[in-house]
Amino acid sequence: MRFDPSGLTQAFDRMQKAAKDKGKNLATEQGNFFLRTTRKLGYIVAPSKDDLFAVFRKLGGKIRRKKGVSPMKELMRRIRARGTFARGWKIDKVESSGTRIRIYIGNAVKYAGIVESKDRVASRSADIVGAGYKTKLQKLAKKVTSIF
């Protein structure tokens, strides 16, 4: 009795392809999640409208501004620009080495470095995303190994 292993090979190939595709999808999904979380945390650490008003009142309206711009106008600009730091986060590059994938993000907004060093937004975001990753990976493995 000679056993034909072609069916098994096909099954392995199918599983391998599913692993590759779904693995790539998971990495993309996690990368986007990382970015969204970082932005969300960035928005949270930004000063609120009330905080800005409080500082404005404390300084008696004497805030640094461009020539010809009134203090109130500068305050309103600052309120509008609250999300700038959060929105500034972008994915810079994705590196893959062995079984490890690194997703790098960067923020080109002025003073972003100062805010990040003070609040460690990206680092906290990586911790949050990493915590749920293992569960997601297990679910994915379940999907892939049961693909047939």
Partner: protein, 432 residues
């Protein structure tokens, strides 16, 4: 693009994912091995069961036809089939022939056609007929005993099937799958269960146990367990009024058969797993299988020798086992040899056939020179049963006596015609 003033990174490790895939692959290989084992074991089981059932059926058919020799019955039926009748029609014709006491030649257009048909049937089924002549009754007994103690064997196969039905289903579907959607539609929950089993096995980490069970089924259960169960059956058989030496020999023979069976399974697995586990694995396993086969054949032969000494079932179960283990080319040559030997055996074979035939002879001798049919017909007429020996009102005993006489005559006629056919077509052609 301006340089980033703040940066961060996320690291994802997919080692666990790769491990899960790798484990699933190993699981599949193991399950495929189980599948291969199951298929092989089933092939053997069905083959042996089929032979025993066939022997049982033809024995009872021949009993219904007045204790006619089973081998002769097979030849007669196949001769009729060769002459152009369907299988069912052939059986009906034989039944009627025995009931009426007509000559065999009345079934055929001419002597030449009959000779040719008989020649063809003997060439194709002579070997089987020979086996049946010697062993149909014993096969029938084995069948009956297995029926009575068969629940043990059934439990064995059921337990094995139940244990592996889920992964087997998965592997079976896997191997046969081309269209996933189609399979999903036709099997639905089965696949889900199978997949769940695999995943569960991966998560629980009991792959080792599964592999162990696979090995148990493959190399232990199919050989040791089966041997153990067969030994149990033989122990029960010993309780019957048979020659215990025959059953001791059968036990040895089946131990040999189990070794051969195990070797076949090992060989099948070696071929199946070679693409995944390497050539070295395949060669090693095949080497072991070869040694097991040699050992099995030697053990088997030892049992056969004892059986031959005791006049046991060599032509029956032993013959079947020999047959299935013989390569096609050798089997073809052996068949021709056995066919020629069976035909040349001639009247001796009929003489050795069955007990009832001897009783018939004594009975007819007791009638002297008178035609037994006429004597019975006359007797029936005297008691008011009518002049014909097939008239209604004849006792069952008388009818059976006639059937037995007719069956004996038919067997003699077949034998005589066989010799005529051989002479007509040339004895040289019958040599292997």
């Amino acid at each position: 693009m301006a340089a980033a003033t703040a940066t961060g990174f996320l690291e994802l490790n997919i080692a666990g994912f790769d491990k899960a895939i790798s484990t699933a692959k190993k699981a599949l290989v193991a399950l495929t091995a189980v599948f291969a084992v199951f298929k092989t074991a089933n092939f053997w089981k069905e083959g042996i069961e089929g032979a025993i059932n066939f022997g049982n059926e033809i024995f009872h058919a021949s009993q219904r036809l007045g204790s006619m020799d089973s081998g002769k019955l097979l030849i007669a039926q196949k001769t009729l089939e060769n002459a152009g009748l369907g299988a069912e029609e052939a059986r009906t014709q034989i039944n009627e022939l025995v009931e009426s006491g007509r000559s065999m030649s009345t079934l055929f257009k001419g002597a030449d056609d009959y000779a040719q048909a008989l020649q063809n049937a003997t060439a194709s089924y002579g070997s089987q007929a020979n086996v049946l002549s010697q062993s149909a009754e014993k096969l029938s007994k084995v069948f009956e005993i297995i029926q009575s103690v068969g629940s043990k064997l059934q439990t064995f196969f059921l337990a094995m099937t139940a244990r592996f039905v889920t992964p087997l289903l998965a592997v079976l579907n896997f191997l046969n799958s081309i269209d996933l959607a189609g399979i999903g539609a036709s099997l639905g929950d089965g696949i889900t269960k199978a997949a769940s089993f695999l995943v569960g096995m991966v998560i629980n980490g009991n792959i080792g146990e599964i592999l162990g069970l696979s090995l148990k089924v493959g190399f232990m259960m199919a050989t040791d367990y089966l041997t153990e169960k067969l030994t149990e059956i033989f122990e029960i058989l010993k309780g019957f009024k048979f020659n215990p030496k025959i059953f001791n020999a059968l036990e040895v023979m089946f131990t040999g058969l189990a070794l051969i069976l195990g070797a076949s399974i090992r060989k099948a697995i070696a071929y199946a797993m070679e693409p995944y586990l390497g050539k070295e694995f395949g060669e090693t396993q095949r080497g072991i299988a070869k040694i097991e086969t040699i050992a099995g054949k030697a053990t088997f032969q030892s049992g056969v020798s004892t059986l031959e000494e005791q006049g046991g079932l060599v032509g029956g179960i032993g013959g079947f086992a020999k047959g299935v283990n013989t390569p096609i080319k050798t089997a073809t040559a052996k068949l021709a040899e056995l066919t020629a030997a069976a035909i040349k055996a001639g009247e001796d074979a009929i003489g050795k056939a069955a007990g009832p035939m001897k009783k018939d002879k004594i009975m007819t001798e007791g009638l002297g020179a008178q035609d037994p049919y006429k004597v019975i017909a006359s007797s029936m007429a005297k008691v008011g049963g009518g002049g014909g020996y097939m008239v209604q009102g004849m006792t069952i005993e008388a009818r059976n006596q006639i059937k037995q006489i007719n069956a004996a005559n038919l067997a003699n006629e077949i034998n005589a015609k066989t010799l005529v056919a051989v002479e007509k077509l040339g004895a040289d052609k019958m040599k292997p």
